[in-house]
């Protein structure tokens, strides 16, 4: 497979201070490759350099050092943007326009003409769930609706590569599900998706590969199946109708028993426990099983460990 996105030693320093500006390294020697057709997640805490990376790839920022190529072309090549979609973090668009006008404007910038423009606009607005609001001015839109417009404009040209910066930001659970489904549809049609997110469960569900950034550096990268061993770490049991006697039995066997609302308890069992046998024993005492889930390594665990171990950021004299 050919690389859809490549960066080599991509570095960005920002001057900090007025009289004697010192360089602040926002991104440090980022080298990565994203294959065509994969969904790649760039993860990291605030200030890790994720948005800086995206802006360098869209040439909204110029690198201090290093190179980046998209679809085999240097990022400075304007013609390659014909094949790209981009959703910025907390996007703002011209609020005096309606959603339909904004998307028509952008479609025309991509060179579409005639009937192709309204056809595309209608399609992407429907996909984004804004079919009914197409003639509303953007200043009347809620944050979630603006996020959907932003997503729609990123897809107006049927891009080969889509860059999404926090695509779930501001969306309600239904909106998040729609975006997840949309990303899966993009993947199904062979589109490369490069997205930055704080929401690790989304990355875990969608990405084939991830890179974790901390303090401007890439501290880990790889396929999810390689990063996470998915080892069983224990069992999480939620039970109801717990009598005093049953509670004492649970306390003996569990690592922790946490009371929940409505008389329910969350029971943290070690991996060696046999929850089926335990339930069989306890059911005789009137205990009701609400849920039982295995606890495995998650991306969140890995993320927290990796980010915590990252070296402090380099400042000055870089």
């Amino acid at each position: 497979m050919t690389a859809a996105i490549e960066t080599e030693n991509l570095t960005k320093d920002f001057p900090v201070g007025f009289w004697r500006p010192r360089p602040y390294r926002a991104l440090d020697n980022l080298t990565l490759q994203v294959e065509a057709g994969e969904v790649f997640g760039l993860l990291g805490p605030n200030g890790a350099g994720k948005s800086t990376t995206l802006k360098l790839l869209m040439q909204l920022l110029y690198p201090t050092r290093g190179t980046a190529r998209i679809l085999g072309r240097p990022v400075g090549d304007v013609s390659v943007r014909q094949r790209l979609g981009f959703l910025a973090e907390n996007p703002y668009y011209y609020d005096y326009l309606t959603a339909e006008e904004l998307l028509s404007y952008f479609a025309k910038l991509f060179g579409y003409r005639g009937d192709d423009v309204p056809t595309r606009v209608t399609r992407v607005l429907d996909e984004a769930g804004l079919g009914a609001e197409r003639r509303m001015r953007l200043r009347q839109f809620s944050k979630g609706m603006l996020q959907r417009v932003a997503l729609a404009q990123a897809l107006i040209n049927d891009p080969e590569v889509v860059f999404l910066d926090e695509p779930m930001s501001g969306l309600d659970p239904l909106g998040r599900k729609q975006v997840r489904d949309l990303i899966l549809r993009l993947r199904a049609r062979g589109c490369t998706v490069f997205f930055c997110s704080h929401i690790l469960s989304d990355a875990e569900a969608l990405c084939s590969r991830v890179a974790i950034m901390a303090q401007g550096k890439m501290v880990a990268s790889g396929k999810l199946v390689e990063i996470l061993a998915f080892e069983l770490k224990g069992w999480e049991l939620v039970v109801a109708n717990v009598t005093g006697e049953a509670r004492a039995e649970l306390d003996k066997r569990a690592r922790q028993v946490t009371p929940l609302a409505d008389g329910r308890f969350m029971v943290d069992l070690p991996p060696t426990a046999d929850p089926a046998r335990l339930m069989h024993e306890l059911s005789g005492r009137g205990i009701e099983l609400v849920s039982l889930n295995p606890v495995r390594d998650t991306l969140e665990d890995y993320f927290v460990q990796t980010v915590a171990a990252a070296a402090p950021r380099q400042t000055g004299g870089v």
Binding site: Y62, E101, L109
Partner: protein
């Protein structure tokens, strides 16, 4: 070039939906209409006052539109980050700057057409209502087509001022851009004095600096032919041609500089 026109169209659409230019145009039209009433208070100078006030209204309100929209053309896009979405499309930064500029010039031109129509309506009314004896004493007819020469040069001057505002807008805040643009507009009208600075000051270095500024700062005095037109004096085609050529060259230099600055900018 299509991208340039699309960006220009968006600027024009924004200005059409923005209430600020409407207010200014309405105010200018009212002022032109009011000039007719003011002229009634004067004896024999009525037509001159209407023409003076009308052309001044066109010039001042055009200037306000050029400066106060021009200073926000680029800086507002950068501040609100709408530039991210636009520059991620197949649009070069040069196309963005040129489109923004042409959009505002189109807005100005349309606003000035509205003001000019109002101006000529007042002049036609004056022409129709005044007795022939009074009209015989006028240096030029009321709805004088030569007023269009003055208005054309006002448009050219405003196009230049717009380029100045846009240039500052690419690297400074709106407030500073407004101050610098208005400062240059004032300096531009007194620019010819800098050329003769050595006659006033004995310090050669100061004279050199003044002469340097004379060549760098825009020279806006030639764009002002209001007095000649109001008094029915001829305005040569050569003067108009050279002034328009000067505007074209100055605007080209400013837009090239604005593009060069904007091309190097990082958008954080």
């Amino acid at each position: 070039m299509r991208a340039v026109f699309l960006v220009a169209g968006a600027v024009f659409k924004e200005s059409v939906r923005d209430r600020v230019p409407y207010g200014m145009v309405m105010f200018a039209v009212l002022m032109i209409a009011a000039s007719y009433l003011i002229s009634q208070l004067t004896a024999g100078q009525d037509l001159k006052i209407i023409k003076d006030l009308g052309l001044a209204a066109l010039s001042i309100f055009g200037l306000l539109i050029a400066v106060f929209i021009g200073i926000g053309l680029v800086s507002k896009e950068v501040e609100k980050k709408s530039v991210f979405g636009l520059l991620a499309k197949p649009v070069t930064r040069a196309q963005f700057i040129l489109g923004k500029y042409l959009g505002l010039v189109l807005t100005l031109a349309v606003n000035l057409v509205v003001m000019t129509v109002a101006f000529y309506l007042v002049l036609f009314y004056m022409d129709m209502t005044m007795p022939a004896m009074v009209k015989a004493g006028w240096p030029a007819p009321a709805p004088d087509p030569r007023l269009l020469i003055a208005i054309g040069l006002i448009v050219a001057e405003l196009a230049l001022v717009t380029a100045v505002a846009l240039f500052f807008s690419t690297f400074s805040s709106p407030l500073l851009s407004a101050l610098l643009t208005l400062g240059l507009w004032v300096a531009g009208h007194f620019n010819s004095d800098l050329r003769r600075f050595e006659n006033v000051v004995d310090v050669p270095a100061a004279a050199w600096v003044a002469r340097g500024l004379y060549y760098v700062l825009p020279n806006l005095a030639p764009f002002n032919v209001k007095a000649e037109v109001v008094y029915g004096m001829p305005v040569s085609a050569t003067h108009v041609g050279y002034t328009l050529l000067y505007a074209l060259v100055y605007i080209s230099v400013l837009l090239t500089a604005a593009t060069a600055i904007f091309r190097r900018r990082d958008f954080k």
